[in-house]
């Protein structure tokens, strides 16, 4: 025993893979958040930060491949779990009433997940597969000052926050960490983390929309 393959055949193993990939994606999100926060320091700082990042060259490439792999693992496992869960109750109830355990975040995990996939594709087309000679500050302003696109970013980032409001607690439960002493802190911490991530990311399209001086 001990191989990922055999873990993958079991429900608990799949959930632990969901949790591990979700945790790593959340950590990536945190670094992305810190990076984006440089934009609040002004145009020059943000452009310099982006330059610095690109100058890392090969390292960035390795990081991108790793991230893509994580996303694929998380997405494929998520889809398998979703389909298996649907099949586990072929006949639905005539009356569905929640017992009070589910949250908005937990009920919408697969749907917020799908929104995130669409978002990532659009986001990569906007900022990754694009003309890299344009300074990043101009790129951000140019794209996110357009109301429809800014709105799409805001809605998608709300979906990310909702996904995390459940996921950031759930991952601990999945890997077996739930203790009287810490569970309250974890539940509140997950909510706080999702609100922090949501707010800081959303601030960028909002500022690009309403502020005349942002990144200029």
């Amino acid at each position: 025993m001990g191989s990922i393959g055999s873990l993958y055949r079991s429900s608990v193993g799949k959930k632990s893979i969901m949790a591990a990939s979700g945790l790593l994606l959340s950590l990536f999100l945190l670094t992305h958040l810190l990076g984006n926060s440089v934009s609040f320091l002004g145009r020059d700082a943000f452009n310099a930060y982006a330059e610095k990042l690109h100058s890392l060259g090969g390292l960035v490439y390795v990081f991108e491949i790793g991230l893509l792999t994580l996303f694929l693992i998380h997405i494929i496992t998520g889809i398998i779990l979703y389909v298996e869960n649907l099949q586990a109750r072929p006949a639905r109830y005539s009356v569905n009433t929640a017992e009070g355990g589910r949250s908005w975040g937990s009920r919408t995990m697969p749907y917020t997940g799908v929104i995130i996939i669409v978002f990532i594709i659009v986001h990569l087309l906007n900022f990754h597969f694009t003309d890299k000679s344009v300074p990043v500050a101009d790129l951000v302003r140019g794209l996110l000052s357009r109301p429809p696109l800014a709105l799409f970013y805001i809605v998608s980032l709300l979906a990310v926050a909702l996904h995390l409001s459940h996921g950031a607690w759930s991952l601990f439960q999945s890997i077996g960490f739930n203790h009287d002493k810490y569970n309250g802190v974890l539940l509140k911490g997950a909510l706080a983390f999702s609100i922090l991530v949501g707010t800081v990311f959303i601030l960028i399209p909002v500022l690009a929309l309403v502020s005349r001086s942002f990144l200029l």
Binding site: M1, G2, S6, L7, R9, S10, S11, V12, G13, K14, K15, S16, L81, E84, N85, Q87, A88, R89, P90, A91, R92, Y93, S94, V95, N96, T97, A98, E99, G100, G101, R102, S106, R107, M109, H166, W169, S170, F172, Q173, S174, I175, G176, F177, N178, H179, D180, N183
Partner: protein
């Protein structure tokens, strides 16, 4: 006590492969001192008198300890009262004129036998797969020969309160049986007598659970809220821990 009158919409299904449907009945006068199952008894007596097939439902102890009863009432397994089995649910919790939709527990792994009766032998199969300790019989050991921390004894006792009713499966949006399996794995792995087989047990019970076609746990917490014995999802975390430790570190497979 006063009587109430209810509209009952009950799932009627002749057999596992027959199509089912909700049929509406007027309850007639129901004493608020009755239990939910007594209310069904009254209905069944009337139906029998009228030459109609009575509603099939499971029950045994009617004291909330055997785990035989159970149906979904207005979307709630065992009805709307917290930590109460259907047999212990009193009709005083309902109001005159209420409409109650009564359905069987639904899951792929729980085949409907008839009306509200479902085949929950999957729960027994999971116990057979690993929910036991193998102890040879012999002379009775001295009491307190094996020291057990008080906290462990209490947590094991809490987990052992599971009556195997299957309401957790019925309540779970994914029809997962994790709370049931977690209760049993916790109960045994918290006690020294359960330690020799703990890795085997976690692996075998989870494998059986998956093979029987129960869903995966999404940590929705609906099971905990529906459980008539208040089994906590902390037991599910313990099961996850036991399983991952066994799958990654133990020699068992």
């Amino acid at each position: 006590m006063s009587d109430i009158h209810l509209t009952l919409k009950i799932w009627r299904q002749e057999g596992p492969d027959a199509p089912g449907r909700l049929q509406t009945y007027a309850s007639g006068p129901i004493s608020t001192d009755m239990s939910f199952l007594e209310m069904l008894d009254v209905l069944n007596e009337r139906l029998t008198g009228e030459g109609e097939e009575p509603v099939a439902f499971d029950h045994d102890c009617r004291e909330g300890i055997c785990g035989m009863c159970g149906a979904v009432v207005n979307g709630h397994p065992h009805g709307p009262e917290k930590e109460t089995t259907l047999c212990q649910l009193h009709m005083r919790h309902f109001k005159d004129g209420d409409t109650l939709v009564i359905e069987p527990f639904r899951a792929r792994a729980f085949r409907i036998e008839k009306d509200l009766v479902v085949d929950r032998s999957g729960l027994d199969k999971m116990i057979t797969a690993g929910g036991f300790v193998s102890v040879n019989t012999g002379g009775a050991p001295d009491a307190n020969a094996i020291p057990i921390p008080q906290k462990n004894a209490e947590e094991a006792m809490d987990a052992a309160a599971c009556i195997g009713c299957g309401a957790c499966v019925a309540a779970c949006p994914n029809a997962s049986a994790m709370l049931f399996v977690a209760a049993k794995v916790s109960h045994l792995s918290l006690l020294p007598q359960g330690h020799p087989e703990r890795a085997r047990r976690a692996l075998d019970m989870v494998r059986e659970m998956d093979e029987l076609g129960f869903g995966n746990c999404s940590n929705e917490r609906e099971c905990e809220a529906a459980c008539p014995k208040g089994i906590s999802i902390r037991n599910i975390a313990r099961l996850n821990r036991e399983f991952l430790k066994a799958a990654i570190l133990s020699d068992e497979d």
